[in-house]
């Protein structure tokens, strides 16, 4: 679930990507072009406004300047026409009155002589009106200046009317160019106001005139002029007053205007008088066109973007639609639906891809149909086979019934066998009990027979060793006989016990790894003294490097001793007895060869039987109960070996007793010997066991055959 969500998040539609890409491209282009356009438009507008203002200002300045110059010309014309300074005072006064009547802007005319004394004075005003002009006229600088050129004073305000007034003066010279006096006119600047007011600056712009101190001289709003307002606080005026022309010259600035609004402003100096005309155009008006254009551009940009969105979406859809169709078709094919019809035309790559895809789908469809055919064929075959198998199963079931009958019979046989086995096991237990009784009996008998022998032998040895006092020679001879016979009796007891144990299967064997060479040496050593009594030469030939074998060393040594003792017993004096031990494939072979009288063929098989010597009535002169070979056979057979005698039966050629012991030991040596079982019960058991085993084998084979 989470995985799916992740996938959905990761997935970003190709359409969306394309739309965004197109949009981004278009918007960026439009924005850049619009911005550039506006920037250049603003630059142009600025220049246009600047030009316009300069023009208006210049025009205004020219107008003001012309006005003043006109007044000067009028004054000079008055001087020339009235011959002022030359004629009489009456004529002078009349000419001056004419002049003041002609020009309403002149409020007062004063004529000064060369010495600067007032000669004639005419005024439009009543005589009691204050005359502020005298202050200026008394200034010596005024006279010096006006002697040579036109003079214009600074502005002053009439105390009563509060009108701005200025004094202008022209020098009076005669034909010889001699200085005759000065004609001074008090000029009312009120008439300049109308001029300034008439200057048109756009629709809402204004123009005004300031003097060097920044005082307002002329403005549409006369009340502000009459108040004698100082406008140095305005940036444009300050520039003029400060004289920082070089920095700002000819440049329209945006700053606070006289009406307190943001204006584009510029000024032009008159030169003489030292006034400046300032023109102001409110920013709103100045940039109205630009603003309008800006709004229009914004609208166009917006419309363009909207159009771009529409076009992008349309184009993207057009591009991605076939791809989406292809994707849907792929999904369907992926889900296993091969009947997909892709309606994608066009000669471009996508169209080609769609056609290829259709081709692939068709191929798949074909393959699938083939597969389905094959599957159906397979199913038919399987069905047929199943039918065949079922038939066979039926047959088998029939035969199985038959088998079951046989099995029942077999079961009965097995039951019978089991009963037999139980009987045998019971017998086995009884036999084991019997074995135990026999073993105990023999142990007790052994103890009871040997204990007195120990006492007898002990005392004899003590006497012989003179432990109990000195003995006579006769006593010693008698004791020797006693010792000899005691030993014989002891040996006989030993033999009888051994044969009993072997026959009852209770003989105890102690198996251990044995060095054969060492064992043979010990046997030779033991029999050495006996051999010497008959000067018989004992010779041992033991194969080198025989491996140690696991046997009951004492018992096997007993066998070898028995054979050597027999050989010595039956060998003539001075003859040789050879003991040979060698390795065969699976056995160690022991040989004892003598040069005695030999054993006739008819006796060779029987000499190993118990008490055979006694029964056969053989020469008794060699002594012995005839138990030795019987015990030897028992021991060898118990070890899993074999014992026999080889002899030609010819006198002097002697006989060779041989026995073998297997290289691989018989681990369970105990109770191995069964040949001369005195009760014959074990043979019976063995027969039953074999019978049972054979039957089981037959039964198993039969079952196997039927199972197949």
């Amino acid at each position: 679930m989470q995985n799916k969500l992740k996938k959905t998040k990761m997935f970003r539609s190709l359409t969306t990507t394309l739309v965004f890409a197109f949009l981004a491209l278009i918007v960026v282009i439009i924005l850049i072009s619009s911005c550039l356009n506006i920037y250049f438009r603003l630059q142009t507008q600025e220049k246009v406004i600047d030009g316009q203002q300069q023009l208006i200002a210049q025009k205004a300045a020219d107008a003001v300047s012309n006005y003043i110059l006109q007044k000067f010309s009028e004054l000079e014309s008055g001087v020339r026409l009235g011959d002022l300074g030359i004629t009489s005072q009456e004529e002078e006064e009349s000419a001056m009155k004419k002049l003041i009547g002609l020009e309403s802007a002149f409020r007062r005319l004063i004529l000064l002589n060369a010495q600067g004394e007032e000669t004639v004075k005419v005024s439009r005003l009543s005589s009691f009106a204050s005359d502020q002009s005298t202050e200026t006229l008394d200034d010596p600088f005024f006279l010096e200046t006006s002697k040579e050129q036109r003079y214009i004073s600074s502005i002053y305000v009439d105390n009563v009317t509060s009108e701005p007034l200025v004094l202008i003066a022209v020098p009076i010279k005669d034909v010889f160019d001699d200085f005759k006096g000065v004609l001074v006119a008090e000029l009312n600047l009120k008439f300049m106001w109308d001029l300034v007011d008439s200057i048109k600056v756009g629709d809402t712009g204004v123009a005004y005139v300031v003097d060097m101190e920044g005082d307002l001289i002329a403005f549409g709003d006369t009340s502000r002029v009459l108040k004698g307002e100082n406008l140095v606080h305005l940036d444009e005026v300050y520039e003029f007053v400060g004289g920082n022309e070089s920095l700002y010259e000819g440049k329209s600035e945006i700053s606070k205007g006289i009406l307190g609004n943001d204006v584009v402003t510029t000024h032009v100096c008159l030169g003489s008088p030292d006034w400046a005309v300032v023109v102001e155009l409110p920013v709103e008006e100045a940039y109205e066109d630009v603003n309008q254009e800006l709004r229009l551009t914004a609208l166009v940009v917006f419309l363009c973007i909207v159009l771009a969105v529409v076009i992008s979406v349309y184009l993207s859809k057009r591009i991605t639609k076939p791809i989406i169709k292809l994707r849907d078709a792929t999904n369907k094919v992926g889900e296993g639906n091969l009947d997909v019809n892709i309606e994608v035309s066009g000669k471009n790559e996508i169209g080609q891809l769609a056609r290829d895809f259709s081709q692939m789908t068709d191929n798949l469809k074909k393959s699938k149909n083939e597969l389905l055919e094959a599957q159906k064929d397979l199913e038919r075959k399987v069905e047929q086979r199943t039918k065949e198998i079922n038939e066979k199963v039926n047959e088998l079931e029939k035969s199985e019934a038959a088998t079951l009958n046989i099995m029942e019979d077999l079961q009965k046989t097995v039951d019978t066998l089991k009963e037999t086995q139980t009987t045998i096991e019971l017998q086995n237990i009884q036999l084991k009990k019997l074995d135990r009784i026999k073993s105990d009996f023999l142990n007790i008998t052994s103890h009871e027979l040997r204990t007195p022998m120990s006492a007898i032998k002990g005392y004899i040895q003590m006497i012989m060793k003179r432990t109990l006092g000195e003995i006579t020679e006769e006593q010693k001879q008698a004791l020797n006989v006693i010792v000899r016979n005691t030993n014989r009796l002891d040996n006989l007891i030993q033999d009888i016990l051994d044969i009993s144990r072997l026959e009852s299967g209770t003989m105890k064997f102690i198996s251990e790894p044995t060095n054969i060479q060492q064992m043979v040496n010990e046997a030779i050593e033991t029999t050495h003294s006996l051999a010497e009594t008959k000067t018989i030469h004992l010779h041992a030939e033991v194969e080198e490097n025989l491996p140690p074998i696991v046997i009951d060393k004492e018992r096997i040594k007993q066998v070898i001793l028995n054979l050597i003792n027999n050989a010595i017993k039956f060998s003539p004096n001075g003859s040789t007895i050879i003991l040979r031990v060698k390795k065969e494939t699976n056995n160690i072979l022991y040989e004892v060869q003598d040069h005695g009288r030999g054993i006739p063929k008819e006796h060779q098989a029987k000499i190993f039987d118990t008490f055979y010597q006694v029964d056969s009535g053989m020469d008794r002169k060699f002594g012995g109960a005839g138990l030795g070979l019987s015990i030897a056979r028992g021991i060898v057979l118990s070890h899993g070996g074999n014992i026999w005698v080889e002899s030609t039966g010819t006198l002097g050629e002697g006989s060779t007793f041989k026995f073998t012991l297997p290289l691989i030991p018989v681990h369970d040596l105990e109770g191995k010997f069964r040949e001369v079982d005195i009760f014959r019960l074990k043979d019976a058991k063995k027969t039953i066991e074999n019978d049972l085993r054979n039957k089981t084998v037959i039964w198993e084979e039969e079952t196997k055959e039927k199972g197949e």
């Binding site: 103890h447 040997r450 022998m453 006492a455 002990g458 040895q461 003590m462 105890k508 251990e512």
Partner: protein
């Protein structure tokens, strides 16, 4: 002097061994069965005993078991009629038996065996 105790139910054999070991120079005492031996042991405090393997009354196993409770710990030489395998010998050694002699024994062999263990005894 080394003390040896002869434990055997056969009077003749017991007296023969007693005489012989006495003549050999040991201080000897006798017991005729397991109970007799266990009664006398702490009093006589033998260094070594010869123990007949088959006696009426207590079995050899029982005697060895009860000997564990006694203060005296003599070395034991077993008088037997059978041979023992290595495995069986190990079991005997674990029960405190140092060696065994098979009947009928040669006197010299028995004396030799006794001397072997008496010489090793700290009492001698």
């Amino acid at each position: 002097m080394t003390k040896i105790m002869i434990v055997d139910d056969e009077t003749d054999l017991r007296e023969m061994l007693n005489l012989m070991l006495h003549k050999e120079g040991f201080e000897t005492a006798t017991a005729e069965n397991g109970d007799d031996f266990l009664n006398k042991i702490d009093e006589f405090q033998p260094d070594l005993i010869t123990l007949d393997v088959m006696m009426p009354g207590l079995t050899t196993r029982e005697i060895l078991e009860k000997l564990k409770e006694k203060k005296t710990k003599p070395k034991i030489i077993l008088l037997t009629v059978v041979r023992y395998s290595e495995e069986e010998k190990q079991k005997l050694y674990q029960r405190g038996i140092v060696d065994y002699v098979t009947k009928p024994f040669e006197l010299d062999h028995l004396i030799h065996t006794i001397h072997k263990y008496v010489l090793l005894s700290p009492a001698s």
